[in-house]
């Protein structure tokens, strides 16, 4: 076995890394801020990220793994890794803005769309022209995602159109409006569960659509805000209402009753199938361990209360296990349950960490004050992020998925 993450470039790969570095030097705006708290990305900064996305898209670097004929980069895993590494050095992810509907919609379109749909729907996503929100969650369809109440019914006067009525909640991210939605709906109010759904890629600016921001205190999931890059994180969430919105049937992905199958193609990615995410550094834990060695205040607390040493060890052990699970998944040796296991572990670890950080650092962990907050307020963001465990499935839902993969659950 080899656990090293050192990547020795071949000559060709080194040339590519250099090309990437040069390009990024030239095209990443010098004053592009990467605040750890996504809530602090200004509208103007967000526009710049979109602009950078379009430039990356032109080169096929925005969605580098997808086929060129659809606007992707057609790149192999090694080249993707180089690209992601170079972007991470600049604290940028791919895409460098919230695009959940694209990252999750694209695999669904590839898996379930017709050739015509792939040619039409994928290039705008892959070239960064379209920013896409994922619109699945509803007030009555949280963990029970199949319980969609937003109706998409054939328009009686023009059967080429669907009329959408209903509302979505806890969707979107960063700034509204996006360009389009990946929209899950109920297409048949009579048909049995799972056979009554339809998925659309729909423009976001149609008459009858209303987008209202929610006032939430969470910045994003802990796994997102603890990494080197934070731009995929989405602290801002919205409600989206559909009031007699007319969508053409060409927006449909898969068949009119195929929505559940299409949704599952996206959910598998979201729940960590296919090896899960890249191995991330856990910057929060790194900074915390630094504090334990170098902050006289913290060192004193640890001396005075040996119980806290045990807490530090708990934090360290949890981070190592999470890292090793991610390495296992990335190297493709994980069992079928490995994807949801890592997601579940990360979320539970994040929750535990919120308490452990507060124990070790005291109330300093709760403020991002310029004078009294520690490490530019990273712990304040982490304290909120650890609470945010619902996106991508609650731990309880992930347990159901993991049990299914272990062949004991339904």
């Amino acid at each position: 076995m080899d656990f090293s993450l050192e990547f020795e470039y071949t000559k060709e790969q080194e040339r590519f890394a250099e090309e990437v570095r040069d390009w990024l030097d030239e095209n990443v705006p010098k004053d592009l801020a990467s605040p750890r708290d996504p809530l602090k990305v200004s509208y103007e900064q967000w526009q710049r990220r979109r602009e950078l996305g379009r430039k990356l898209g032109k080169k096929g670097w925005l969605y580098p793994g997808y086929p060129r004929e659809y606007g992707g980069g057609g790149m192999d895993a090694d080249h993707r890794f180089i690209l992601i590494q170079e972007l991470a050095k600049r604290h940028l992810g791919l895409p460098p803005y919230h695009d959940a509907g694209g990252t999750l919609g694209a695999p669904a379109i590839v898996a379930c769309g017709t050739e015509e749909q792939k040619k039409r729907l994928l290039p705008p996503i892959f070239t960064g022209e379209a920013c896409t929100w994922q619109l699945f969650t509803e007030p009555e369809a949280g963990t029970d995602e199949a319980n969609q109440q937003t109706n998409a019914l054939r328009f009686v006067r023009d059967k080429d159109y669907f009329i959408i009525n209903g509302g979505k909640i806890f969707v979107g991210g960063m700034y509204a409006p996006p360009d389009q939605f990946l929209l899950l709906t109920r297409s048949d109010v009579e048909a049995p569960r799972h056979q009554n759904l339809a998925m659309f890629i729909a423009p976001a600016n149609l008459p009858g659509i209303t987008i209202i921001p929610l006032d939430l205190f969470i910045p994003a999931m802990f796994t997102l805000i603890s990494g080197e890059t934070v731009d995929s994180a989405d602290g801002v969430k919205y409600q989206v209402f559909f009031d007699d919105v007319r969508i053409h049937e060409s927006c449909l992905i898969g068949g009119e009753r195929d929505g559940w199958r299409v949704a599952n193609a996206t959910l598998e990615v979201e729940h960590g199938a296919g090896g899960g995410r890249w191995i991330r550094r856990n910057i929060v834990v790194e900074k915390l361990l630094d504090q334990c060695k170098s902050n006289p205040n913290v060192v004193k607390r640890l001396r005075e209360n040996p119980q806290l040493l045990d807490t530090v060890v708990d934090i360290y052990i949890g981070a190592q296990i999470e890292r090793l699970f991610a390495m296992r998944n990335s190297s493709g040796v994980g069992a079928p349950y490995a994807g949801p296991q890592l997601e579940l572990y990360s979320k539970n670890y994040g929750v535990r960490l919120t308490a452990d950080i507060a124990k070790v650092l005291g109330p300093y962990a709760l403020t991002d004050d310029g004078e009294w907050g520690l490490d530019e307020g990273i712990f304040e963001v982490a304290e909120r992020g650890g609470i945010c465990i619902a996106p991508g499935g609650t731990p309880e839902a992930l347990k159901i998925i993991m049990s299914r993969a272990l062949a004991i659950g339904r």
Binding site: M1, D2, L5, M402, I408
Partner: protein
């Protein structure tokens, strides 16, 4: 990226051979008998294991072994742990060999290591005493120089595999220094020596742990391993390298228990449905799987670090803290999944419960290794 976590072809083969061996030669009736026995092995099993070269797996070729990596040893012991196959295989072939390699003179290595590899000598470590601790300060057994030889006096407690051993590596104090790690020497002591007596500690969960009394036991100077007073560092090194192999044994035990629990939860019907359908049962199994995987991967990373001469101290403490706890918890949870049936001495889960308890403290319990981690992380 160099990240590659599959076993090599030869490791896969070793794993298969070892799993086949456990299935064929050590089915559950055999394992139950072995656990009850004082030595943990039979002559026939020992002969077969020696034929396969396992006692000399990591002994360098120049000393009559196969010179395999510690990772290979991990693969072997992970497979043996599925039994869990009792016996002095770890005590002698891994811990014994590594301490001799770290502490022994060239003459001693040439004399002792081939005997270990051929299965002629079986070693075990006699370190802890009534003032139980894995720190050097707790070593009270004395070795006094007399006419060029040594006389050992003291009591070793919780010594593993003492009945199976032909020789003990006895840790004894030869000098008094301010630094308790100095003034400690290691001795290879023949089990048949006058004044040496062995008594197995009773208790179903005590496993094969023994009290070893040393009452004026004469040891020739040639059997002092390495330099006088300087034994502790070599011992520490040998133990550190051995720990992940012991962890692999526990990880193998965890996997076997998880698989049994999974199978049982698919077959056992209560309230008209397989109990695996109940989310409370699923919760326990998920916790078991997490423990088991954590044990496995912390273990293999530490083995890799040792094999590639990377700094491994943190990893070794991590692996031992995680895998000791994991094995214990996995077994406890398994008893909740199986309930009454698993309380039987004949039930394989009880074999693992026994092993998870008796190995929990061996070479340092989680609290000890967590303390070491805290020291490395905060000072």
């Amino acid at each position: 990226m160099s990240l590659a976590l599959r076993l090599t072809e030869s490791e896969e083969m070793l794993k298969k051979t070892a799993l086949d061996f456990v299935r064929r030669d050590a089915p559950k009736e055999v394992i139950q008998d072995l656990q009850e026995s004082d030595t943990g092995y039979t002559e026939e099993l020992w002969r077969k294991v020696v034929e396969m070269g396992w006692p000399g797996l990591i002994v360098p070729e120049q000393y009559g072994g196969f010179g395999n990596s510690l990772t290979s040893a991990g693969v072997l012991f992970e497979a043996l742990g599925t039994g869990p196959l009792p016996g002095p295989y770890f005590s002698s072939g891994i811990l014994g060999s590594l301490i001799i390699l770290e502490a022994g003179t060239e003459e001693q290595k040439q004399r002792i290591l081939p005997a270990i590899a051929k299965g002629e000598q079986i070693l075990t470590l006699a370190l802890t005493e009534p003032g139980y601790s894995w720190e050097p300060g707790a070593v009270q057994t004395t070795a006094e120089s007399k006419n060029g030889d040594f006389v050992l006096d003291g009591l070793k407690l919780f010594t593993m595999d003492a009945q199976a051993a032909t020789h003990f590596i006895v840790v004894a104090r030869t000098g008094k220094r301010a630094d308790t790690a100095r003034g400690i020497s290691l001795f290879l002591v023949d089990r048949e020596s006058d004044g040496l007596s062995v008594r197995r500690l009773p208790g179903f969960l005590a496993g094969r742990t023994f009290e070893v009394k040393l009452d004026s036991v004469k040891v020739p100077r040639a059997d002092m391993l390495g330099d006088m007073d300087e034994g502790w560092q070599a011992l520490e090194q040998g133990i550190a390298k051995s720990i992940p192999v012991l962890c692999a044994y526990k990880a193998g035990g965890c996997q076997a228990v998880v698989e049994m629990a999974l199978e049982y939860s698919r077959l056992r019907i209560q309230f008209g449905t397989a109990i695996g359908r109940f989310q409370r049962v699923q919760d326990m199994i998920i916790e078991m799987v997490d423990h088991s995987d954590a044990a496995r991967w912390t273990t293999y990373e530490s083995l890799w670090k040792l094999d590639t001469q990377r700094s491994a101290a943190e990893s070794v403490h991590l692996a031992k803290a995680v895998s000791s706890e994991a094995y214990w918890q996995v077994c406890s949870l398994a008893h909740r999944v199986f309930s009454g049936i698993s309380y039987s001495k004949e039930h394989p889960v009880s074999f693992h419960t026994r092993a998870s308890r008796s190995l929990y403290n061996y070479l340092g319990e989680p609290s000890y290794h967590r303390q070491q981690l805290a020291r490395l992380l905060t000072l």
